[in-house]
């Protein structure tokens, strides 16, 4: 469904990400793992049009979306949840969700889907997004992305600022989503969590793909174990 070939992108003339090839098939969950500064966020921004691409192509469902502005990529069915979330702090949970479906009014079942996944959000429907806790904000960010019934959901470090228990339940929710057939692309530092949900993974190091493969293979890979799983 999503295919990046030879993708390079960066800031102020310097490439942070170089020659990256990524494939995400429909219904799959794919993880991009790497430490801080590896270029995960840069890659994701380039994929969804937040950052200009200096080389390479991005294809979504066969269509070339390289360089397309972010709002049009969102409308094409690729929903992106950045690490900073970018919620609308002065608006209520409900209004944030409503806007998720822009430019349409949301499908009546969309609210149901989000509230089933995150019952806490239903409780806090009228609350200002800015006053939510970290975990609730993360739920809202994902929920908002889901309101438009995207075909692909991209999440950049969804566990940012979350306590371990909340991080686990976040990935449980992602697991449920995957179960409904949603295609997922997740960037994550916390490798065990990422690989628990993902079918396949890419290891990003210094802006380049170092390794790729099925998540079981990556989990067993000695380099991955040493670098990211803290095993000698």
């Amino acid at each position: 469904m999503l295919e990046a070939s030879g993708l390079s992108a960066g800031y102020l003339g310097e490439n942070v990400v170089e020659g990256v090839d990524v494939q995400v098939a429909a219904g799959q969950a794919v993880a991009v793992i790497g430490s801080n500064g590896a270029g995960k966020t840069t890659l994701f921004r380039a994929l969804c049009g937040m950052l200009p691409v200096t080389a390479g192509r991005v294809r979504f469902d066969g269509e070339d979306i390289t360089g397309r502005p972010a709002h049009r990529v969102a409308r094409a069915g690729l929903a992106y949840v950045p690490a900073e979330r970018h919620l609308f702090p002065g608006m209520s949970v409900r209004e944030n969700l409503l806007l998720g479906a822009y430019p349409r009014r949301p499908d009546p079942s969309a609210f149901g889907l989000v509230f089933d996944l995150f019952p806490r959000l239903e409780e806090r429907r009228q609350q200002r997004a800015g006053s939510l806790s970290g975990g609730e904000q993360q739920m809202l960010a994902v929920g908002r992305a889901l309101m438009s019934r995207p075909r692909l959901l991209m999440l950049d470090e969804p566990t940012t600022g979350l306590a371990p228990k909340l991080a686990r339940s976040a990935y449980e929710a992602l697991g449920v989503l995957k179960g409904t057939g949603m295609t997922l692309l997740v960037a994550e530092q916390q490798v065990p969590l990422a690989l628990s949900v993902a079918d396949r993974g890419y290891v990003l190091e210094n802006g380049r793909i170092r390794l790729e493969g099925a998540s079981e293979d990556l989990e067993r890979n000695p380099e991955v174990r040493r670098a990211y799983l803290g095993v000698a």
Binding site: Y11, L12, N36
Partner: protein
């Protein structure tokens, strides 16, 4: 971790100012001022016969002085003081009122008026700094001050002559009223201001200015008391404005609400500096000359003159972020460098 999101990151920290260091040697630092002074000193030889032209030349010098003062406040420390005219007006009206109505000797009135303008300007700076007002809010507050001052002048008719303006008796019969003598006096003040500007640049104060322009946060962390230096700039610039306004009042003999109004003074100063370059030494002078010529050319255009000013402001601030002259100078430097490398090959 917050990352600067947009790819079009503005790499220059100073919005419209320059961060270059002034020349080290005394001679290289000050000869441009001496040269400028010498050249301008010749103007009366050329225009001296026409009272009208000399009057215009004096006005041009006055605006040049205003521009240097604005350069000190905004060019040096990014404080958008949209009250240049008003601060000069404080000096002008205070001096005229103190001399004519309170009977003080002109020199005393001048000194007190300058002091008043200095205090007012310093206060504006201090408030802006204490409340961490950014460029826009400082601009709005100083604009509010400027308009309030104009309304104050209009309202206090008994003291200021209101709409009709004030005839300034003090100074009558003195050399101040002679156009040529006034020209040299204002030229002297202009040169003095330039010297002060350059001396500031070369001092530790100027170093602090450059630091806080480049990055306020970094400067604070490096131990620069940004607040204090901003207030210094405010005080010095306001003093320059106050004394210029005061001397102008006695020299011209007549001041009115429009003499020091925003539309008359501040806008022109902005255009002048857009031409000549903010933060540069001679930018104000270049801007003054260009503007004086332009003004003369447009004198019959009536309202279209305003249109031309507007177009100039747009073109200049759009095209040349640091001023037309620095941009041209940069271009020339680039061409010279290219030519040199071609010859060297």
């Amino acid at each position: 971790m917050t990352v600067e999101f947009d790819a079009t990151v503005e790499s220059e920290a100073a919005p419209l100012g320059v961060s270059a260091r002034p020349p080290r040697s005394l001679v290289r630092a000050f000869w441009p001022i001496a040269a400028t002074g010498a050249v301008l000193a010749l103007v009366p030889l050329w225009l001296g016969d026409s009272r009208l032209m000399m009057g215009l030349a004096v006005d041009a010098l006055v605006f040049g002085a205003y521009a240097i003062a604005f350069n000190v406040i905004f060019g040096s420390t990014n404080q958008l003081f949209l009250c240049v005219g008003a601060l000069a007006g404080v000096g002008g009206y205070a001096s005229a009122i103190l001399a004519d109505q309170a009977g003080l000797p002109m020199a005393v009135a001048l000194a007190l008026a300058t002091a008043l303008a200095t205090v007012v300007g310093g206060l504006l700076s201090w408030v802006a700094v204490r409340r961490s007002l950014g460029v826009i809010f400082t601009g709005i507050v100083t604009l509010a001050f400027s308009l309030s001052f104009a309304n104050l002048v209009l309202g206090q008719r008994g003291l200021t002559g209101g709409e009709t303006g004030l005839v300034v008796a003090a100074g009558e019969g003195s050399f101040l009223r002679e156009r040529v003598a006034a020209f040299y006096l204002f030229l002297g003040m202009l040169v003095a201001f330039l010297v002060v500007f350059r001396a500031l640049e070369r001092s530790h104060i100027g170093w602090a200015f450059r630091a806080l322009r480049d990055s306020e946060l970094a400067a604070e962390l490096a131990g620069v008391d940004v607040a204090r230096y901003r207030v210094y700039a405010g005080l010095i610039g306001s003093a320059m404005l106050g004394i210029t306004g005061a001397v102008y009042a006695h020299s011209d003999g007549f001041i009115g609400p429009s003499t020091f109004g925003f539309g008359h003074v501040d806008v022109r100063v902005l255009v002048m500096l857009a031409f000549g370059g903010l933060g540069t030494l001679l930018g104000p002078v270049v801007g003054t000359v260009v503007f004086a010529v332009l003004d003369e050319l447009l004198v019959d255009a009536g309202q279209l003159r305003t249109v031309v000013y507007g177009l100039l402001i747009i073109a200049l601030f759009l095209g040349f972020k640091r001023g037309a002259v620095p941009a041209v100078a940069d271009l020339l430097r680039l061409l010279v460098r290219r030519a040199r490398s071609r010859i060297g090959r």
